[in-house]
Symmetry: D2
Subunit: 397 residues, 4 copies
Amino acid sequence: MKTGVWLIGARGNVAAVSMVGAKAIAQGRTDTTGMVTAREPLSALDLPAVEDLVFGGHDIRSQSITETALAASESSGVPPKSTIEAVEDDLDAIDSRIETGTAINCGQVVGDLAHGDATAEQTVPDLVSAIRADYEAFVADHDLDRLVVVNVASTEPPIDEPERYDTADAVRSAIENDDRALPASVLYAYAALEDGHPYVNFTPSTGSNLDGLCELARERGVPHMGQDAKTGETLVKSALAPMFAGRNLRVLSWEGHNILGNTDGLVLEDDDNKAGKVQSKDGLLEEILGYETQSRVRIDYTPSLGDRKTAWDHIHFEGFLGTEMKLQFTWEGSDSALAAPLVLDLIRLVSHADAQGRSGVQPQLAAFFKSPMAYETHDFSRQHEQLQNYATEHRQE
Amino acid sequence: MKTGVWLIGARGNVAAVSMVGAKAIAQGRTDTTGMVTAREPLSALDLPAVEDLVFGGHDIRSQSITETALAASESSGVPPKSTIEAVEDDLDAIDSRIETGTAINCGQVVGDLAHGDATAEQTVPDLVSAIRADYEAFVADHDLDRLVVVNVASTEPPIDEPERYDTADAVRSAIENDDRALPASVLYAYAALEDGHPYVNFTPSTGSNLDGLCELARERGVPHMGQDAKTGETLVKSALAPMFAGRNLRVLSWEGHNILGNTDGLVLEDDDNKAGKVQSKDGLLEEILGYETQSRVRIDYTPSLGDRKTAWDHIHFEGFLGTEMKLQFTWEGSDSALAAPLVLDLIRLVSHADAQGRSGVQPQLAAFFKSPMAYETHDFSRQHEQLQNYATEHRQE
Amino acid sequence: MKTGVWLIGARGNVAAVSMVGAKAIAQGRTDTTGMVTAREPLSALDLPAVEDLVFGGHDIRSQSITETALAASESSGVPPKSTIEAVEDDLDAIDSRIETGTAINCGQVVGDLAHGDATAEQTVPDLVSAIRADYEAFVADHDLDRLVVVNVASTEPPIDEPERYDTADAVRSAIENDDRALPASVLYAYAALEDGHPYVNFTPSTGSNLDGLCELARERGVPHMGQDAKTGETLVKSALAPMFAGRNLRVLSWEGHNILGNTDGLVLEDDDNKAGKVQSKDGLLEEILGYETQSRVRIDYTPSLGDRKTAWDHIHFEGFLGTEMKLQFTWEGSDSALAAPLVLDLIRLVSHADAQGRSGVQPQLAAFFKSPMAYETHDFSRQHEQLQNYATEHRQE
Amino acid sequence: MKTGVWLIGARGNVAAVSMVGAKAIAQGRTDTTGMVTAREPLSALDLPAVEDLVFGGHDIRSQSITETALAASESSGVPPKSTIEAVEDDLDAIDSRIETGTAINCGQVVGDLAHGDATAEQTVPDLVSAIRADYEAFVADHDLDRLVVVNVASTEPPIDEPERYDTADAVRSAIENDDRALPASVLYAYAALEDGHPYVNFTPSTGSNLDGLCELARERGVPHMGQDAKTGETLVKSALAPMFAGRNLRVLSWEGHNILGNTDGLVLEDDDNKAGKVQSKDGLLEEILGYETQSRVRIDYTPSLGDRKTAWDHIHFEGFLGTEMKLQFTWEGSDSALAAPLVLDLIRLVSHADAQGRSGVQPQLAAFFKSPMAYETHDFSRQHEQLQNYATEHRQE
């Protein structure tokens, strides 16, 4: 079994660090800390080996993966420069397989990153055909048994009236009729599902999160999941909020402030794109707490931090006898170091689901996402338990 | 059904705030925020009503409950003065039922709190007889159907060689032979269990946590549980540590610093007593993470804070590609406002267990304790799930 | 000597707490903690006694000072309810002297606070005449030797092209010609200075900060000072930034996030008014550090906090050998408890300057302001030294 | 003019990073960020150039400076590995000039660092003679015009009854009589001052801080200063405390918790040595605030942090109307990156003082120390002003 990975946004930070990591693991230069699938009971599943994954992808930038990785290393120390140098040949080989993608409806800032490509002038059906051809060529060239498509591109603005794409046919006919409202992430997701490739939406962009694409995935018998990987502040929130609920402590307000300095931060400075991000955090607190509370998530661009992200959360709550108390936390993480191992986890786990013949959205993967497309709870411990139960059920004999 | 509550340390902060709260709830002056049993699915159990509980207890201090409550209110605003005034008559009535207790082997600082009582000169068998007589008189005077004994007294130093009390007979014979190594908490627990009264150890003191007392409880068919209520930093720890484990993020060090200003803090300044406290936090991280990590919990006395407790935790962890990151939190809580509703919860839940005929330690109550006497995990979310499952199973028709 | 105090915004939080405090000091119910003039060497100046101040003022709201104070007490515990009750008669007496003011050009949110007064329909010259008549009547009614006017009203939006008011004549002629661009704070300041009353602008609103009003003050020989009292995050900033400068540590970014829940916060939610606030923080870092740095100040409205304000600041800096480090702080203060004593200090100190015959802006008061109208440095320690030097120079024989 | 620098503890972290930095500046590989003397007005003084300093020193360890620097780089990234490699030849040259020192009375942990040298068996007069001979040979070998001796060795335990060494003669006779209570730092300081070499005590150890050594320095006309460089938490404290004093805000408690992972932390784990450290922080708050307050400084060893130090400070204070508020900060710094540039600054400034013929303790250098041997205030801004005034006074024509 040979598993291919097609990364949308293959020259971005998250993609670059994922691939540096996969290749460094293959060389035995780093361990699997940060990978959920490296730990019992998930490690007992029959998963594709990290060292065997074959990478390719789309991007709209011309800088090489190595350049992206070195810039990240320079600004934040992740990945270490010596690690990048050790896997540079591997990265060069992948770079040669990257095709120019489309940034249609990705917003102004993302558009500015593109190096003058004319995809915007192509019709939607032509764009989709080109994407499908790229997938097909990659599978053929590398003799792949399975191709997993993962969206790790910068956040797009949310789309208006998503309910107009509520059936597989509605999506197909929108594409045929050159519907200029469809954003890039939907085109990539459509192309993957239509051709039977498992799909993961690592970002808050729309991706496969349209009723029409969910129907398509079920029709084609292909697993998919999203969206918006839970790597930082929201991860902590999903671990802490159940404590307040469990103790019947009333959250009066939960304020969060994120500062970050990478491209993600730059893109989010653009108000349209930020809307996409902020919206994807809705609902978590309300679901866990069981009531609405004052909540706000600020995201600001602070270039000096490079790929480092700092979040400050201030939780004001009330306990017995009207007593007001508070919990504050700061989270200082490297966005790509947190995200990259989850990319590898999701590739392995969605491959496993595909091998099991599971189709449609995959609720056992809810723990990985801020806005899981199917889930029972946002409580991280319980989400993780669900994943462990899946692992226990499917563990290799 | 009439349920009595006998509090060991009935004039301390936690006891005072619990009783002020219970009486304020009875008067409709405050709500049940902070009480776990007030929330679904626990609220669907057939539990004794808070307003019907009859309080009594032992203490070694002469100041009244109202004086304790007013001092706490003055120093930290909890409980509100107006609430204390509203329930003052109730508190006076309880005060008249409080008997002088023993502080044997409770350490120097606790001993200094005593108002000159000569219990230290009594023999152990005499002390136990006196305690049993006090329980019995309380039951008779108030025509109680059930008596729950709860230890909320200040932390004792840990005892040496607890394994010498590994059978019910060993405990009984130690008492008969006036074994001066037995601390007060063990005598109170023994007296409760021997006479069939459900027992809760809210503190880190030994209480019923001897193999011999566990055997006794099973023999007598009485439920008990402990120890050391999980109210602050450890609660947060038990909510956050599973996140690191779940994401395979390696905790390099977890440093905690607690500052607090109440009697509890004063008692913990004494090194012997602090040993009891620090020891009770061991094991949680290791069990959840699956490996040993550098960990330290400092507890310092800061009088200006009154009953307020602030904890700062600094968690240094490693993720993918050797990337070092950190999470820090500060928790600013009122110890008694956090503890008091749990006292009421535990009274109600151990009564329920008793009514169900459950005997011995009660693992479904693990979520309430730092060092649960029986448990599957320290992961707070899963502990709480266990409690919810108990509730669902036993919910009233 | 009898000193009157005319508060613009007399029914707001800051005014209410200042007056509660002054009256509580007069009754010996509280001490002077928080008042700079209560401490050596300032206490050695010949200042008007706090207990002798006679208060009056303008406001656009109908709720009484006591109602404002009680609402603040309810939401944040400041001032204590018992203190308000003790001075309620004094507050009622002051309430009877409060005149309805104008909210012209104060922005939508402030306008909404007004209780249907028709001042907006009056012409500017009529408004000014009415204000002057109010001042005059207050002086006459209470037989005052000196009247100090203090602006403690909510923040107005900044005005456009302030340079058009660069002479006393330009201001006068704008008033005569019913210039609808003039905001309320300018009218109050003009009226004070024209009539020789010392004036303090405690807020970021324009007030006397127009070249034309500065000229007028010099002409009339009257002292004035502003603007925007330095009470919280900026105070800390002005104490910490000199440390970075003094050690030649390069500040790479300084991010601040303020959350607060009082009327001030509500008003600042309105983007126009926030512009006024944010602008007033510019320049401090650049002056102290000697270079421009990435800096941002977020102010968000969090109703649950009441009058409490929490600020989180994240300072990312570089030291020797390119080493990146950081300092973070959280400041949890009560805005009015911090502001109120400074109102009393400024009343006393601007009275003193007036008694000394000092006219125009008063640089020795720079320590009190975020945007001092005259200053040598924003470094708090040095500003305070300047104030101490003034005190030493003028200390009573 | 050729200036030599003799470092006591030349193979420790602070020394290593200072020398790496000096050599990297000489090569133009790094800038002077973090050096106070690189900034106006100090940069206008006639100071020895960093690139011209000639380094030598004593140590008790056998590992090379490069090994120390590489270990620091490995554990905390400071100095960068590439910088160390670039200056490795310079470091090797210095290494060849390092003489084996004495660790007499430096405590157990420091003693354990020694590589089996027998200095402990030498008599005190012999040790002093050896030290003086080392100084003399270094001056002769390198044809130095001036030699500055700097103590950067690990903290010693404080000495008992320092008053017995209150005259130069008392010190001399103690040495002659082989007084075994004299710790290493005193011997090094004595040897420097007796021979006319300016001396800086960068550590909390005794060094020249004996009345007898101060007398000796005045007799010999040689400048010296100490002690305990102000690099982290105390620096912030000395910047923040004046704010509370200046605003008459009453500090109720000031709690500090430092965690650090370098040799300094390891040495401080030893209780005797910690006493030296804790004691050196006394007095600062009381002097600045004008009253005693509850204060504590915890220092704990957290190996995972390497050379990184994190301090959490919790300041509980009271303002107007009894309102309680708080300020908390966390400081995340690299100890050696903060200390090293100050070592270079002090070498340059004590050389300047020597060139000016100033003898005895140098109060203009108070800003550099936690426990300055002569000072007017601990207020950092004012200390720095004093230094700037010195610079302005002595600036080069």
